[in-house]
Amino acid sequence: MTTIAIDRAPRTGLPLSRVVTVARVLLANWPAALGFPLGIMGTSFAINVLIFGAVGDAIGNAPTGGLGSLYVVQLIVCWQGLYQHFSFAVGLNATRRSYYLAAVLVALAQSLLFGLFLYACRFIEHATGGWGVNLRFFDPLPLTHSASPVTILVYTVPLVLVSTAGIFFGSVNRRWGPMGIFVLSVLTIVILGGLAALVTYLNDWPEVGSWFARSWLSLTIGWSLIPTVLAAVGGWLVLRRAVP
């Protein structure tokens, strides 16, 4: 007979190993976690290749917005991932804190992995004359023209932003259900609409436009970190009182 020893468990700081353990739980079906965003983007890519192949030179070397699908899907995956894994992992025995840190860790790793993948695809796109059909799928913006490794950040940092936004939405969804998402949507519309109204009222659109044009790079890989951090911290403040 083997008695299961009970370790006395004093309250300790956060064991990093537990965060890694929970991160493995989130990736128990990792092909789905990674494959879903890439699969949707791949579909968008394939359709673009077919269209550009069919149209030939008629539309020249025009960029497409198909890459945006990866960012949209990443937001949804992080939202649903946080929402659904919470009941499973915290429901069985994970702490909210370990769970949340694991979710952020996985999102960061995924974003970096996707960023590197997009950077590699960008090189292939250039080397193959736009996949043989003059397609600009992975290099749709002036910011992505550069071959410098900074371009990895141009891909990755916005992915981190949409991931943390997804984590924030997932946290709100988990804590307050559909009503939370409804209120959040209304608040978002009010805040963004209010800002737009303010700029219109001050007749500042040309200035705002030129500021955006001047600051694309710093906006993308610098200023975007502010909403990223706000979403990550906000998500934790919401989820720390959620019940599985």
Partner: protein, 300 residues
């Protein structure tokens, strides 16, 4: 031996409702507890608090000697399998088991594999496509194979057929004998677990109304059945827990052991005296008007 769980003056209020009201008890290591009570008695809330999932209004809770809330070291030694255990939509059975194997330091993969075979679980089927009973089996397997020193089962076998439930009881007992641990089993199928649980905790409207060893309970409560007047006379100087009547026949549940002399007295009155089952005891202690129907059924 130090208790695994210590709860003192625990209350949890949801708005106007007291889900738990000044509950105090301790759980000893290596005992199978039955946590019983009617729907809404506070059983799930109590288990959620003990596993750090729910918040305390007042009182103190210690699990493995420290507060469980956000305590990784303490919670890693617990496992909570609930009736409506949720799984991510993209998990197959094998993913759920793999994820669980990461969460529980004492997970036994060989044992989990044998349980999957015993319960005839389809490893590569998506969890969301499983039938209610098969879904319950996934939770049961996780709870057993976790070998967590403190394991909670909250109505774990909704939809499981009688054969699978018996399999669960058999496997639990056999594994418990090999690897003793503290198990808290919350269920409404009281008769089924009566021989399994060593200690009973009974909640009624948030209050702990019973905290006793099963062996001790068995002799302490009897049911007396017979003509109403005779039952009335027999019960006169005893603590009556519950009474139901159908026509001229009355059945009363009475507290206190019955010796040979009293038994002879009952015989003379034409009464049948039997030790109360655990289920009868629970009905007696917690049954309001809504339970009378069930009591009458069991009289027939």
């Amino acid at each position: 031996m130090n208790p695994v769980v210590e709860v003192r003056g625990l209350s949890r209020r949801f708005g106007d409702t007291m889900a738990l009201d000044e509950v105090t008890f301790a759980l000893r290591p290596n005992v199978i507890y039955g946590l019983l009570g009617r729907n809404g008695a506070g059983k799930t809330t109590l288990m959620q608090i003990l596993t750090g999932q729910q918040f305390v209004s007042t009182g103190t809770v210690r699990v493995m000697g420290s507060a469980p809330l956000e305590n990784d070291a303490a919670l890693a030694q617990t496992c909570f399998v609930r009736e409506n255990q949720r799984y991510p939509d993209w998990f197959k059975v094998m993913h759920a088991l793999r994820a669980a194997s990461y969460l529980f330091p004492r997970w036994d993969q060989d044992y989990a594999d044998s349980l999957v075979d015993d319960f005839r679980l389809p490893r590569s089927r998506q969890v969301r496509k499983l039938s209610r009973g098969t879904l319950s089996a996934v939770g049961v397997i996780i709870g057993l194979a976790s070998r967590a020193p403190l394991t909670f089962f909250d109505e774990p076998y909704l939809g499981l057929d009688a054969v699978a439930r018996q399999l669960f009881y058999d496997r639990l007992l056999a594994d418990y004998a090999e690897h003793p641990r503290t198990v808290v089993l919350s269920t409404h199928l009281i008769d089924e677990v009566a021989d399994l649980v060593e200690h009973v905790l009974l909640l009624d409207r948030g209050r702990l109304v019973l905290d006793e060893a099963s062996d001790h309970l068995r002799g302490q409560v009897v049911t007396v059945t017979g003509p109403s007047a005779a039952v009335q006379s027999f019960a006169a100087d005893r603590t009556e827990l519950h009474r139901t009547s159908i026509g001229p026949v009355t059945r009363a549940t009475l507290r206190g052991a019955v010796d040979e002399q009293t038994k002879a007295f009952a015989d003379r009155l034409g009464l049948r005296v039997e030790p109360a089952s655990l289920q009868q005891l629970v009905v007696s202690l917690t049954g309001g008007p809504a339970m009378d129907h069930g009591s009458k059924e069991s009289l027939r």
